[in-house]
Amino acid sequence: MDENILKLFMMVAIGWAVTFSIRLFPFLLPHSKKGGTSRFTSLYNDIAAPLIIASLIIYSYSDLEWKSVYPYLAGVITVFIHALKRRPLFSILAGTVFYMCALSCGCATQNVDVSNSSTELHLYNDCVRFKNKSVTPADVVDILRGENIPRTRTIHILVDSSVRDLSYGKKLLSCLTKAGYTRAILVTQKHSSSAAVGRPKPVMKWSRDETPEPRQRRVRGF
């Protein structure tokens, strides 16, 4: 069986086992004559449970566009409606729809999936990497041709955060343009915290640099 499927089965099994153990735990304890819950459990219920849920909220916000104001606004809307109406479904729906609308209107930063429909080159201070191999700008064109990458394909040149001088990138861009790869663009990294060399994330949050038209891309001297 596929390793991924096994891993998914394992995750589901762990989820079931932990949840069932939590539910089963009180039934395994000996029945006391006094009955009722202990002081510890009531203390847990009062303090620890809200704290855990609060930490889960922080955790789940990390998957959102947390640098923009919209997830927080959506959160306020959710809490406000729930405090007023006490209808979980309605408040969840309202907050989610607001957040979806905010993203669809382009209010927050958009994620650009650079893994599927484009070819990636990684630009560092001293080298260019293609599929984790260091290559020279002159070789890039041959390699792209060798890989049968069509000239109409968008080529993202992902600029590492350490790169300050873009002249090397412009040289690469020029080489690509001359070879007919007119849809090459320089992409600067803004949000990814660890674009370590050789460990590119499958989906990263990049924002497009202001890209000149192919004609304007030509830099004097190249």
Binding site: I22, P26, D46, L56, V79, M100
Partner: protein, 205 residues
């Protein structure tokens, strides 16, 4: 299930009907929430055959929060430890439901008890607790049907959501906010309960 034969057929039907009627408000909630969880699984779960996984998670955990929380875990291929820890954090509140029900379900046969404990989720617990029946046998019969109906709603909602999410291009951008929204709602309820209890405590001196 033979022990329920001592309850008259007419009464059994009445209990099943009352369990079904009581579960109808949950049907609206579970099917919609389950639908959202299923869509999220199909759109963001990054798994093949999302309806199968959605149904499996729904049936195995019978937990709305875990169904939502599982999506990013599955997408990122999280480790066993992080899955266990997150499940523990998300579902630890269930332990209090057990404390409330353990006296009521004392002496229940193994498989029935297993099913009752397995499906002891928020809304189901609330319905169990709200049902006042002196006869423990009738009470158990009600609880079993109540759990059964609600589990069916949850699995149906989740699977339908995953099927629709996988089949159609739904506007899914931002749907991941449903998970923090769910946590926010739970936290709001917890804080409100805490405040109510403290106010009552103040009044009682």
């Amino acid at each position: 299930m033979r022990e329920f034969a001592v309850i008259k057929l007419e009464e059994r039907r009445k209990i099943i009907r009352s369990a079904f009627v009581a579960s109808l408000p949950v049907l609206a909630g579970y099917s919609t929430m389950g639908f959202a969880a299923g869509v999220l699984m199909a759109v963001k779960g990054s798994v093949a055959y999302p309806p199968l996984w959605a149904a499996l998670i729904a049936l195995s955990s019978v937990s709305g929060t875990l169904s939502f929380a599982m999506v990013p875990l599955m997408a990122s291929g999280a480790s066993a430890l992080s899955t266990a820890l997150l499940t523990l954090c998300v579902n630890f509140r269930y332990v209090f439901y057990g404390f409330s029900m353990r006296e009521r379900w004392r002496g229940v046969p193994f498989f029935q008890k297993w099913f009752l404990i397995h499906s002891l989720a928020d809304e189901i617990f609330a319905l169990d607790l709200a049902h006042r029946e002196e006869d423990p046998l009738k009470n158990r019969y009600y609880c079993l049907w109540n759990h059964f109906f609600n589990v069916v709603y949850w699995v149906f909602g989740t699977t339908t959501g995953a099927v629709v999410g996988a089949a159609f291009e739904l506007p899914s951008k931002g749907i991941e906010f449903a998970m923090p929204a769910l946590f926010l709602v739970i936290l709001t309820d917890q804080v409100r309960d805490l405040l109510v209890r403290y106010r009552k405590g103040d009044k009682n001196g």
